[in-house]
């Protein structure tokens, strides 16, 4: 449920001609590897990688590498390498859990003459020198920045999961207020992390989300909390809750359970609960108070677990103004399933804690935050 770019870029559009784009409606026929790549008919699309890694001697890391595509226009433009039908945003974050440090970078580009884009033929999704390279089911991630970088070979252990019902993940009331949402919930990851000139050989697990849609959110939503959890019994959970203005939880909140064989089960809002436990972390830069300890309950799985983060500062507070501020970080899970102890790792994303996220209807004005730099 990574909606950052939606309210980012769509708000910038003076006349977001939604009609130019296709909406996510039931009955979409998924096909791989085609659906690993670009869907230019849809206004918004992203590929989202997170993961928990460690070196052989126990140095723990978390990472996030995200590629967003937001359509700017589908009107015919003069032929130029530099015309901008889409904007590509990318985020890169590294959590040096053992070192207690958090690093992140962002970039915005037009496709330009090969600067950013998605190419199904070569299997590449890239923004500058941050890229995903598909080779069959394997994906090679590479991202380089002035301070840190990573290079990871990912191998999926399970087939792609399609979330929601009938191939759509409904986000608010109304037809088309939904997305096509695909995940690879258990990827083994091997590779290197460069940090301040030092190289760390790492291994671990990663998670990939790929979502494409047009205008999925509704009014009244102020933010969300999203969890990806990889349990040590080889099962996974994706859970999100949408918070409403009045403090209640939107009924369109939902989740998915993936069993050890890769079979996915849709979880409706009533099927689980996500409950903050009162431990908060206050951001110095945005003054947002993020709940960083949660109780996760899934009665149907007899799962009761606490989720906490090993690194409190994992907020991506941008300085460019064209990205919202959010907390996205590595988490650890401990609890019981069917009375047996269970543990796991995962990623948590929390938005709308510094100010309400203007979800839903697009605005005619730029974000308040954007003029705030």
């Amino acid at each position: 449920m990574r909606n950052k770019l939606v309210w980012l870029v769509s708000c910038l559009l003076l006349n977001p001609l939604v009609m130019q784009y296709r909406s996510a409606v039931p009955g979409y026929h998924y096909e791989f590897p085609r659906d690993n790549f670009n869907h230019p008919d849809f206004q918004t699309e992203w590929w989202y990688y997170t993961g928990n890694l460690r070196t052989a001697d126990g140095h723990e890391f978390g990472f996030e590498l995200t590629f967003f595509r937001e359509a700017l226009t589908r009107e015919a433009q003069k032929a130029s390498d530099w015309s901008a039908p889409d904007a590509f945003v990318a985020h890169l974050a590294l959590s040096d859990i053992s070192g207690g440090k958090f690093y992140h970078r962002e970039r915005l580009n037009r496709p330009g003459p090969g600067i950013a884009g998605v190419n199904a033929e070569t299997g590449r999704i890239w923004n500058g020198n941050w890229q995903i390279d598909w080779k069959g089911n394997a994906q090679n991630l590479r991202a380089i920045s002035d301070q840190f970088g990573l290079q990871l070979a990912l191998e999926s252990q399970k087939p792609p999961v399609i979330h929601g019902i009938d191939g759509i993940s409904q986000k608010s009331a109304g037809a088309g207020h939904a997305s096509h949402y695909i995940s690879l919930t258990r990827l083994t990851a091997n590779g290197d992390i460069d940090l301040g000139g030092k190289k760390f050989a790492v291994a671990g697990t990663a998670w990939m989300d790929h979502e494409f849609f047009t205008q999925q959110l509704g009014g009244g939503q102020v933010g969300w909390d999203w969890f990806s959890l990889q349990l040590d019994d080889h099962t996974e959970l994706m859970l999100f809750r949408l918070r409403l203005k009045d403090g209640s939880i939107d009924p369109f909140s939902s989740g998915t359970y993936i069993d050890a064989a890769g079979q996915a089960t849709h979880l409706a809002q009533k099927d689980f609960s996500l409950h903050p436990l009162g431990d908060t972390w206050k951001s110095d830069s945005t003054h947002a108070m993020y709940p960083i300890r949660w109780r996760v309950t899934v009665p149907s799985l007899k799962l009761i677990a606490d989720v906490a983060t090993p690194l409190r500062q994992q907020e991506l507070a941008g300085n460019t103004g064209w990205s919202p501020n959010y907390w996205e970080g590595a988490i650890r899970l401990t609890g019981t399933r069917d009375t047996a102890p269970i543990a796991g790792v995962g990623y948590l994303e929390m938005t709308g804690y510094d100010r309400p996220v203007p979800l839903g209807q697009p605005l005619a004005e730029p974000l308040p935050g954007s003029s705030n730099r």
Binding site: L72, D81, W82, A84, L108, G114, I115
Partner: protein, 842 residues
């Protein structure tokens, strides 16, 4: 006796007694220093302007990637995806004219979206704004100094078209060195008609490995034609290109200083001669030779210091004017430039002071050491001792001949590191030779002419020539100062006149077409705005158009120096064009060699700079390739100092496929009326902002630009002449004071005041005449050095010698008149003297 007391008695007190002469000497030094400083400051500011117009919005970039004719867009993608932590900033640079004000400002196109997160560039414009209008191609961001408001519209002339653009934002341009217009690259490519290419890509690379390693790493990843260089390379290339021009200008500015040096020499000599008895007395009272030497050197240093201080202030004022002239020249001959700010740095002030004081002390050495040789006995010697009777004419003449021979020999060796050092040495030796020859020449001429003068002018002629001989050293120094200034005027006059005549002759051959068209964009010589090729096609089909030459020009860099790459449609113009080649071959033979081959003609300055000859091979970076070309000939060319490489249009299109020409030349078919064809052309290009020049207009325009480029040389000459004439006025004042008894005596002997005035004016006139004579001969010699050595070695132009008779005669006459006028005030002083007092003074 303390040195200070000595200094005060011997030096300061007498100076205060003659405030006007002291002031004139100080002013002469001041002007000399001011000219040197002004040329230096203006040169720096003019050179600095390349930095600000080309190297704007560079951020913290370390490297730049360029290619002749621009880089293919794909290079940006390649660079952006390299696995290095580099920042990639593509650029298109051009110039636009703000229609409302006529101001031409740099246009910098950047990747507004990709660079919006760039902390270095973010002040300019925001990605949001660019994202808001993805399909609109009319947004510009303006520097605050253009005084436009965001949201308003601004009318701009780009290439050959005028359009209204929406001002999307205004940014603080104070750090950018002046007004600029910023566009997104997508918009700029469309507006400039340069789809598919960017001019350069700026790169910020990590601190390690070293820059050179990054350069080779990145070169390896890019096409062969792409050049990876540290940023500022173009500035230094431009500065290298301008070096010869600035160097010569600087040398010219030192002439005024040299003239000032003559005058200091004269002033100190006068001091020494006048104060011989005092020197004798202080020596008798125990002052050492060294103290006396020091006192007179200190006098010179005082003049130098006061002059330099004044000169610094004056230089700053002159620099403003010099900068205007200089930047016009730079713009016309070299690169688009905006004058930078004139920066009076402490370093340049210190240098000006050192130059002023140093020059004065050196000039004062001979008379001061003469003072040091005065024996205490002379304290008692009565009577007026004539002004330095010790002139070793014969010995000096021999030395002069030796120096002149040395000067001629020095004209032979080639340039050292592109600088005609031997040429300058040759000029210096010739100036020195003439200075040493002047006493003998003046003595001989005045002796032989004295009675003739008496017959023509009257007794004043006799008296004047006799008194000039009597104070031969003073006469020689004054003639030396003025003749140096005149020689410079004459030599530069002959050189410029010859150059002008050569250019005119060349243009007559070169410019055979009847109409010339170019876009009404920036006319700077390194800018090549284009005309749509379809328009050229239409023009070619017009009735009465017998031939159409499509000339396309690109700026490129060859072995670290900028030059122009051009292509002409030789097939279309073979019957018309008549360029002249160094080999002497006919134009049509050379044109035949060019067609269908990887062959080029290079211009003489280009061949000179890069030591190329007919038959050599030259590898040119073209787009993304490097291609070897055969040089079929070297052409005479006076259009560009940077030089031309010209190939056939079809050849160029193979490598750089953009068909739009930069210039068009139309040949009218016989039997058709030029004006009718012109009207047709005018009709066809309606809606495009294209300038049409008739053959005559274009020549006039070329000559106008030519003349403008030499205005600064004329200004420098004028200042040297002013310094020399001021020196003569000062020297005549001294002369009046020194010879007051003689004037008084003449009154006793029956001379009328008018005769005294006439005597002084005749002396001034004789000095002027001698200086004109010596200056003209020296100037003629120097003009040969200038034309055949210094110019040839600095710029590579072959110039045919030509007498600019009218200009020479009028300027020589003008200087002569000025010299006589310089005698007016001293003459007035002489008339006012009381003969009784001065005759009885002992």
């Amino acid at each position: 006796m303390s040195r200070l007391t000595l200094f005060y008695r011997l030096i300061l007190r007498p100076l205060f007694r003659e405030p006007l002469r002291t002031a004139l000497t100080v002013l002469a030094v001041a002007l000399g220093v001011a000219v040197v400083l002004a040329i230096d400051l203006a040169g720096n500011a003019a050179a600095g302007s390349f930095r600000s117009s080309i190297e704007t919005l560079m951020g913290d970039s370390d490297l730049e990637v360029t290619a002749t004719g621009g880089l293919p867009d794909a290079v940006v993608g390649t660079l952006a995806t390299l696995p290095y932590a580099i920042r990639v900033r593509p650029r298109i640079q051009d110039f636009v004219t703000v229609v409302a004000t006529g101001q031409t400002v740099p246009l910098i196109a950047i990747d507004l979206i990709g660079e919006s997160a760039d902390q270095q560039i973010i002040t300019v414009a925001s990605g949001e704004e660019a994202l808001k209008y993805p399909g609109n191609l009319d947004g510009v961001w303006l520097g605050s100094s253009l005084n436009a408001k965001a949201g308003s519209t601004i009318r701009l002339l780009i290439n050959d078209h005028v359009r209204d653009y929406t001002v999307r934002g205004v940014f603080d341009d104070s750090a950018e060195g002046g007004a600029i217009v910023v566009m997104d690259i997508a918009v700029a490519q469309n507006e400039l008609g340069r789809t598919g290419r960017v001019d350069s890509v700026l790169l910020k690379v990590p601190d390690s490995p070293p820059l050179a390693e990054w350069q080779s790493r990145l070169s390896g990843a890019l096409p062969a034609g792409a050049m990876v260089r540290p940023v500022g390379s173009r500035t230094s290339e431009n500065q290298r290109m301008l070096a010869a021009f600035r160097w010569n200008l600087r040398v010219l500015s030192y002439v005024a200083l040299l003239v000032g040096g003559f005058l200091i020499y004269n002033t100190i000599s006068v001091s020494v001669v006048r104060r011989r008895p005092e020197i004798g007395i202080v020596r008798a009272l125990g002052a050492s030779r060294r103290s006396v030497l020091a006192a007179f050197l200190a006098e010179a240093a005082c003049f130098g210091f006061a002059g330099a201080v004044l000169g610094c202030a004056l230089g700053r004022v002159l620099a403003t004017g010099a900068l205007k002239l200089l930047s016009a020249t730079v713009q016309a001959l070299y690169v688009s430039s905006r004058p930078g700010a004139i920066e009076l740095t402490p370093a340049s002030l210190v240098i000006a002071l050192l130059i002023g004081v140093g020059m004065s002390v050196i000039a004062a050495l001979p008379p001061a050491s003469e003072a040091a040789r005065v024996s205490p006995m002379e304290a008692m010697s009565r009577g007026q001792r004539e002004y330095a009777t010790r002139v070793h004419q014969g010995r000096d003449m021999l030395i002069a001949l030796g120096l002149a021979a040395g000067g001629i020999i020095c004209a032979v060796p080639p340039a050292i590191a592109g600088k005609p050092l031997f040429g300058y040495l040759s000029a210096i030796l010739l100036i020195a030779a003439s200075a040493l020859a002047i006493p003998a020449v003046a003595d001989g001429l005045l002796h032989t002419s004295a009675h003739g003068l008496q017959k023509i002018i009257g007794v004043e002629g006799l008296l004047a020539s006799r008194s000039l001989i009597g104070s031969l050293r003073r006469t020689s120094v004054l003639v030396g100062a003025l003749s140096t200034a005149i020689a410079m005027m004459t030599s530069v006059g002959i050189m410029v006149g010859s150059f002008r005549q050569t250019v005119t002759t060349w243009m007559n051959d070169q410019l055979q077409a009847d109409l010339y068209l170019r876009p009404a964009g920036n006319p700077a010589s390194d800018q090549h705005p284009t005309i749509p090729n379809e328009l050229a096609d239409q023009l070619a089909k017009l009735p009465g158009v017998a031939g159409l030459d499509r000339f396309r020009a690109y700026e490129f860099s060859y072995e670290g120096l900028p030059a122009t790459l051009g292509a002409a449609d030789f097939h279309a113009v073979q019957p018309f064009r008549k360029s002249a080649f160094l080999s002497g071959r006919s134009a049509s033979d050379v044109y035949s060699d060019l067609q269908g081959n990887d062959a080029v003609v290079v211009s003489e300055p280009f061949a000179h700079k890069h030591h190329l000859r007919r038959g050599d091979s030259i590898t040119l970076p073209l787009g993304d390739r490097r291609v070897p070309f055969h040089i079929v000939d070297v052409s005479y060319d006076y259009a560009s100092e940077a030089g031309y490489v010209v190939m056939d249009r079809a050849t160029l299109l193979q490598y750089l496929p953009d068909p739009d020409p930069s210039n068009l030349a139309i040949y009218v078919a016989p039997g058709f009326d030029l004006e009718t064809v012109r009207a047709e052309v005018q009709k066809t290009i309606a809606g495009h902002d294209i300038l049409i020049f008739s053959n005559r207009n274009l020549r006039a325009e070329a000559i106008r630009i030519f003349d403008r480029t030499f205005v600064i040389t004329y200004a420098l000459e004028a200042i040297s002449i002013v310094v020399a004439v001021m020196g003569i006025a000062g020297a005549l004042l001294a002369l009046v004071v020194d010879r007051r008894r003689e004037f008084g005596l003449l009154r006793f002997l029956g001379a009328a005041t008018s005769q005294i005035r006439k005597l002084i004016l005749v002396e001034a006139g004789l000095i002027g005449l001698l200086a004109n004579l010596v200056g003209f001969v020296l100037g003629l010699a120097l003009s040969f050095i200038l034309i055949y050595v210094i110019n040839k070695q600095s710029f590579g132009w072959t110039i045919q010698f030509h007498w600019p008779a009218a200009i020479l005669v009028s300027s020589l006459a003008g200087v002569f008149l000025a010299t006589i006028l310089a005698g007016l005030y001293p003459a007035r002083i002489a008339i006012r003297l009381n003969p009784i007092e001065v005759v009885h003074e002992e």
